[in-house]
Symmetry: C2
């Protein structure tokens, strides 16, 4: 086994991927099935991080406590070269927030500010609601219909297994505030970008375009947005008092936490895997994204436990993803010359993986065949039209890194996404283990071969 | 048909129930199936009340707006003798509330005050958490273990179809605050009496026993209670800052809204049906209890549309149920001599009825057989061990009123009960119609016969 590995190492050093040694299928299957049966690493990380740190808003002291926790944890798990790579970023933070219909039917509503929202100040603002069924309808309205009013943009997000609705359905959040600002609106509230029916509004980032003055921008929970639509249907003028206190606190430090399973061949292109450490501030960031970190860290740890891979596995817990992907950009800036065998990211909850894709299908048919065979027993099918998953590996992929996407079932992801409800109980331990099993199998196939430890020396 | 009805009236006047005329099964079936197919009355009431009034906290101006809405609505629907029967009651109202773990892992938690909670004042209180897995364990603890601390009582509520868990599982809410006060605790927080996993805590009434000074008493949402339990498991001292601002605002007016479908025989014992108009203040009181009002009012309206029943159907929208059943007590005090054929109440959500029970099974076998036959096609089975349903008809039942219980499926009721999530979207229109169909069938069987209107006169 060691001899095979050494041969693999020599081959890999000269011809990084095409000549790599793929571990025997039964070895990959054993590693995969052990993860599926009894992985505890991932749960341990997700449970620990969400319990002992809680929310980890980018650039705040809470994210800093998250980095400290990460360094301790990754070192305790036996990873090498554990360090923080700091970077600076502008930081926006939430304050008090509330919404109340004053007329015609007085009642309180559940609201939360969107990222980079302007502030109403603590006294709030009062305005008449003007409603639109879509951003397109809103864009088409004359400025005079909107000026000085609180714009409400309704819409309806439908769950999809592949999460593909997020791009389309997210438009009110991403574009609405800028359009509202340019038309002279007092404030904007949107129906939450979410698929649930709970009184927990969904936050999320938006950025005012150049030339658009920040105005207060919030999201009502889905039940509240439906309630407001019913109230508006009565045809009477609707007045709302809206308070969204928030502030930009300037440039602060965030950072990426980097850890490694050192490969036997330091010159071989490495495997880059990770997720993001930061979270929105409303929940504890369990499915977004403690689970992603947990899955890939557990998979890397399981390879480490099995022996020494030919290629280095680098695990990155990226900072400040939610508010603009700052961590991924900073990582690539810090490692512009690094070459990769593959880059992979998990950032879509903790439900089961159902398909995978990679461009290796064209260039590395043997590797692709091994991946296909290793993942099929988990119910994971290949998908030719896949794209690279994830904001954090985006800059590396853009710079040429090959990628592997393992796609999770997103049917219930947007029930909890960016809400107070993103808490540990939303992670299904069995599905979490399926994720770890899939990534363990993938890392094993791509490892260049795993040299089992000499037991005598290790003891 | 009219002749039959007159005969029935004469019989009923002398021998109230045993000699009543039961409408032919096919007529009952027609009324029932029409409700099941296309009842709009119930949805219209539930939608209107929750949208145009919203929450209706007992004794507040919001409940008053609810009574105004009720009077308008019931008159518009054609009910007779619509009036408010006012009564006075002590009123407690909620203020600002928040909870935050200060050490060892700083984080915010979702909390709400229980009814009649003492107030922390706006500055809040800070204390060490002392935790117990049950009220029994808490009761057994020495006072010295509790004194000056914030008591946390954990437990786990399991959903049951018949809701029977509420008595047992509700102990921490009903007894916990008094025990905590008597032991000298600074405050008490319990795990919400609820079966969901959302960041929406469950409020509910509790009363400090005589001699127990009110202390701040709140409920954490289920995910927060589980989080606190995990934090406590780490074994380090846990400190919480708790703010529960609330106040007793003295004696205020509430009231019952009474409406009738006048019977052909005013001397015949009437049918008393209803639910409660007030709600907790966190949601819009959709399943607790706009749906209950809606179901029984729709059923009475459907009998009214079909013709004139022998017996008067009295519909009561009771006030101030949630905070101590004041409406039911006031109603009975106002009508001590009133005789009833039956009393029925709906106050357990809007999900399907699955069984029914009444003591008529012993005394009125023909009526009971007709009820059984009329309800069976809706999937409703008889249940010999049933008890009278409902707080509001309780005093009338105690004074001797016969009762009919139609039991709803409570499997998901305690997911939303007393939370911000009790909103219109939790009502399933199809199951709501099944409820209306069942009550319409039951009222038809018990009506003493329905005289169809003379079409010429009505036109």
């Amino acid at each position: 086994m060691i001899k095979t590995a050494i041969t693999a190492a020599l081959l890999a050093a000269t011809s990084p991927l095409s000549a790599q040694i793929i571990p025997p299928p039964e070895k990959v299957a054993t590693l995969r099935d052990a993860a599926l049966d009894h992985d505890d690493y991932a749960w341990d990380i997700a449970e620990g991080l969400t319990t002992e740190v809680g929310q980890r808003m980018a650039g705040t002291e809470a994210e800093g406590r998250g980095r400290d926790w990460a360094v301790r944890k990754l070192r305790a798990m036996g990873f090498a070269n554990v360090r923080v790579e700091p970077f600076d970023m502008p930081v926006w933070v939430r304050g008090a927030e509330s919404a109340e219909i004053l007329a015609p039917f007085p009642q309180k509503m559940a609201v939360t500010a969107l990222g980079n929202s302007g502030s109403t100040g603590p006294a709030g603002v009062t305005g008449e609601i003007v409603a639109f069924d879509s951003v397109d309808e809103f864009k088409a309205a004359p400025d005079s219909a909107v000026r000085g009013k609180i714009v409400f943009v309704d819409h309806r997000m439908i769950p999809t297994q592949d999460g593909s609705g997020y791009g389309q359905f997210g438009t009110p959040r991403r574009q609405g505030p800028t359009v509202a600002s340019k038309k002279g609106a007092l404030a904007i509230i949107i129906r939450s970008i979410g698929t649930d029916h709970h009184r927990n509004p969904h936050t999320g980032v938006q950025r005012f375009a150049d030339g658009a003055t920040p105005i207060p921008a919030g999201a009502l929970s889905v039940p509240d947005a439906e309630q407001l639509a019913r109230i508006l249907k009565r045809g009477k003028p609707v007045t709302m008092h809206l308070t969204l206190v928030s502030q930009n606190i300037g440039i602060r430090q965030s950072g990426n936490v980097v850890a490694e399973v050192p490969g036997r061949d330091p010159t071989a292109p490495m495997l880059l895997v990770g997720g993001h450490l930061d979270s929105w501030d409303l929940g504890t960031g369990a499915i977004d994204n403690a689970s992603g970190l947990a899955i890939l860290t557990a998979a890397a740890k399981r390879i480490m436990d099995a022996g020494r891979p030919l290629r280095t596995i680098r695990v990155v817990w990226f900072g400040a993803e939610e508010v603009g992907g700052f961590g991924g950009i900073a990582y690539q800036k810090a490692h512009p010359e690094q070459r990769y065998t593959i880059a992979g990211e998990s950032d879509f909850g903790a439900d089961r993986i159902w398909r995978f894709g990679t461009k290796l299908s064209a260039t590395e048919p043997a590797t692709y065949a091994a991946l296909t065979a290793a993942l099929a027993p988990l119910g994971i099918v290949n998908y030719d039209k896949a794209e690279a998953n994830g904001t954090d590996i985006g800059p590396a992929v853009e710079a040429g890194a090959p990628w592997l996407s393992l796609s999770q079932d997103g049917t219930r992801y947007f029930d909890y996404h960016h809400t107070p409800d993103d808490t540990l109980d939303k992670i299904d331990p069995a599905q979490l283990r399926q994720n770890v099993a899939a990534w363990t199998a993938a890392l094993a196939v791509l490892s260049g071969g795993i040299a089992e430890p000499k037991r005598s020396k290790r003891r």
